[in-house]
């Protein structure tokens, strides 16, 4: 097997760095689908980055490439300096993933499931027990711990997913539609908790369609459309650039407009 020498983490502005990330999928017709087109951005520790865009914009594919679940056609994503293409295990160790399409093990109890994942991520047993305790209190899982996962409600499941993504204390969180299908109260818990994580200094990328929620939650935004990152900046920067007051209006303008709006990525710090 070809294993290159251990790469030392490169120092950079962000703990998450995405450079010219591109993914093409071959189609059955013989043509190619350009799902992600030379996307670049960076996220610092303690920052929540909202990756927004209509369905099919390439948000999920981007997240999967950052984590090393998909191989980029070209470009690179790094977490703490480790490339997700060549050092996927180092990357995975540092990332917690919450995804709307993820499921739970039906026949395991919540406790078994959480401790199993702690084990997969290499957490020592004692540490995992402490972390389980902490997450149980924070996410209000006390009554759920010994229930089989199949018996949980959607909101309960999502809290378990969050706990599962956090049990190995990752510095980076990738949250793909974390509030999909949740009621107002359920989303509230998740949003509040992501705020807590920011205070702990974790870096997070969140994709969501709930724009008002994103406005409250995220420090910076990247708007994606047809595989490209067409705008990037804080809410104030975006408001100034587009003249729109909220994300929803920007979003509508975006979908209606041509995809080649001038990039503003350079103007951000």
């Amino acid at each position: 097997m070809l294993i290159p020498e251990l790469e030392l983490p490169r120092s950079g502005a962000g703990i998450i760095e995405v450079r010219e990330l591109t993914k093409r999928f071959p189609l059955h017709s013989g043509k190619e689908l350009l799902a992600v087109d030379a996307v670049s951005f960076a996220v610092k520790p303690g920052e929540v980055y909202g990756l927004l865009g209509p369905n099919g914009a390439g948000k999920t594919t981007t997240i999967r490439m950052i984590l090393g679940l998909l191989r980029p056609t070209s470009g690179e994503a790094t977490i703490a300096g480790y490339s997700s293409d060549t050092k996927p295990e180092e990357v995975k160790r540092r990332v917690g993933l919450v995804s709307a399409s993820a499921g739970l093990y039906q026949w395991l109890t919540v406790r078994e499931m959480l401790l199993y994942f702690a084990d997969l991520y290499g957490s020592p047993t004692a540490e995992a027990a402490l972390e389980l305790d902490r997450l149980t209190r924070l996410l209000d899982l006390c009554d759920l711990l010994d229930r089989r996962c199949a018996t949980l409600s959607t909101g309960q499941k999502q809290r378990v997913h969050l706990a599962r993504a956090l049990i190995h204390r990752p510095p980076v969180l990738l949250l793909d539609e974390p509030t999909l299908g949740l009621d107002v109260l359920g989303s509230q818990v998740i949003v509040e908790y992501i705020g807590l994580l920011r205070d702990e200094g974790k870096a997070a990328i969140v994709t969501t369609h709930r724009l008002e929620e994103a406005e409250r939650l995220c420090d910076r935004f990247g708007l994606m459309h047809r595989g490209q990152l067409v705008r990037e900046g804080t809410l104030a920067e975006l408001q100034a650039e587009t003249g729109c007051q909220n994300l929803a209006d920007m979003f509508l303008r975006l979908v209606g407009a041509a995809p080649t709006i001038a990039r503003t990525a350079e103007s951000t710090p």
């Binding site: 097997m1 070809l2 290159p4 999928f25 071959p26 059955h28 689908l33 799902a35 594919t61 999967r64 984590l67 679940l69 998909l70 191989r71 996927p88 295990e89 180092e90 995975k92 160790r93 990332v95 993933l97 995804s99 399409s101 993820a102 499921g103 739970l104 093990y105 039906q106 026949w107 395991l108 078994e112 199993y116 994942f117 084990d119 997969l120 991520y121 290499g122 599962r164």
Partner: protein, 699 residues
Amino acid sequence: MNKGSLSLLARMAHKELREILRDRRTIITLVLMPLLLYPLLGLGFRYFLLSLAPTGNTQFRIAIVREADELVFMELLGKLKREDPQITFIPVNNIEESLRAGDTDVGIELKGLDSHMDRLNPHQSIECVTQRMDDSPQGMKAEEFILDRLTIANIKILQQRLRKSSNVSEPALPIQVDTKLIKTQEGPKGSYLASLIPLVLVLMTITGAVYPSIDLTAGERERGTLEILMAAPVSRVALLLAKYVAVMTVAILTGVINLTMMTVTIAVSGMGKELFPDGLSIGMMASVLALLLLFAAFFSAVLLAVTSFARSFKEAQAYLIPLMLLAISPGLVSLMPGIRLESPFLMPIAPLINVVLLAREILAGGAPYGPGAVVVLSTFFYAFAAVTIASRLFGAEAVLYSEQGQFSDLFRRPIRQRAVATVNSAVLSLAIVFPLTVLIGSGFAQLPLTPEAILLVGMAASAALFVGVPAGAAYMGNVRPVSGFALRPSSVLPIAGAVLLGISLWPLVAQLIVWQEHLGLSTMPQILREKLGELAQQNREMSPLIVLMAMALVPAVVEEIFFRGWFFSALERSLEPLYAILITSILFGLFHLFTGGFLLAERLLPTTLLGIVLGFVRWRSGSVWPGILLHVLHNGLLVSAALFPITFGGLNKAVEGGGNVPLQWLLGGALIASIGAAIVWMTRPNSNHVKSSEMESTP
């Protein structure tokens, strides 16, 4: 794999098992099905046999040898009532002959008493032996009737005796009954129906593994747990291995439960004699169990490879239906009476059918060692290959995200060039080459060709296999030939050492074979010995150049390229040199076990030892060339000793199997070999240096 990752693997497998075993559906196939199936099969079988017997007013024809027995026997049976069957006694000369001819239904012989029994004498007893054909329903009914009656008689007589004197401490059984079955036909032992049993066992083992293998692969993908599993920092191979261990455990559990239920059913229903005239021993059951374990290991891997490919439960089921049909049809072939493990030469390497046939031979009282070993080894290699394929498919991009990926991605040549083959692809080529070598070894000798042509065809075929298969794999895996086959030039020292080893080892090897024979380790059948003698004579009549090329040069070169070139290089990257040497040499030895369709145990040790020397040379030199030289010289001298009896004198006798190698040759050989080994040892293994420069090779 280190200790930590092994224990993680165990914990992962444990979790998978916990999940499967909590699922009620698994329990149904695991426990409930066998609990119901075997008693039902047993009942059905019995009913089937009994239904063959004519109904209505039954009449039993009992064969006796001594006419006096009729009276004694009738007295034992007691008075016949109207509803009882009619009994006719027919005096015959030979009971078996009359049973075979169908003149009588059952035969009896009374022993130990000439006249009627004194019912009150506690010391008197009589032995009654019944005989019948194993496939005669009427005979079975008659026997059953007699046994019932004799049991009643036993009880009655015992009661009378006890009433008379109650101080009998251990009353002997007044009538001792023994039953004998006469086999309908010679040839494959056991009844025709007994050959169904291995098939049923194998199919049930498959059934047990199907559900968990779908659930743990396609099921996980469908439920969305596969993605979070893949997001964890655990390699795909480790995830798959954990699932493999879990599926295999369930398959083995199913196999064990099925085997137990089958044994219990047979024991309880008393069908043992019907099915297994020679009886069922614990050793037989243990061999069948071992075979089932091996089969479970193989089939679980195949199932995982297929279900890893599927993206949903439904899709997996759709793939499995043809696979199950494929699995059942060779199983049905194995039911045909003429099919035996040895007969058509490809049976021992045909997957599934070989296991069914071997199990049948074991249950029939004994399996041939040679084909048996081929079955075990080839199944083992197939299992390995299937695991390899499964680990390539499992969690692959195209499977994980079906909406975007394509299956052809899985077979695309990697862009990045590799220095050596992956262990996976090395094992895969091994799994292809091994059964085909066996096939060639036994198949070509039967071709209607001249001896020269057979030699040349065999030579070409083995060259194509040993070089062609890894060359194809190297192309598909984008492996650089020079490093992948260790074709880099060697320095002078190991070449010199290899030459010395090449000219000196063969008398030692010849003597080792002689010693093994003295110790009785030889499994060479006489027929082959004679054949080999003829062959040696034939060879002497052929051009020595052709013989040397076909028997010494080409095998040596292609085997080195395969074992020390391709396989060793793949192992060397991830294993300590010692293990790489040991594994290649044991495999090298195993490959030489089978020659011309026979299992030759005496070849295992010498070839394995030679393999260790060759591996050692390969390790120190980092190149395949010195080993090729050594191997060619070694083979060449051994073959020459057989070809030129006059030149080689006493050595020829040893090689031909007629005496010891002269002592001076042994001592000289040992001395030169030690010097050669020391020279090779003096070379520092510089392959690491070569490797590191090759590793960076990217296009």
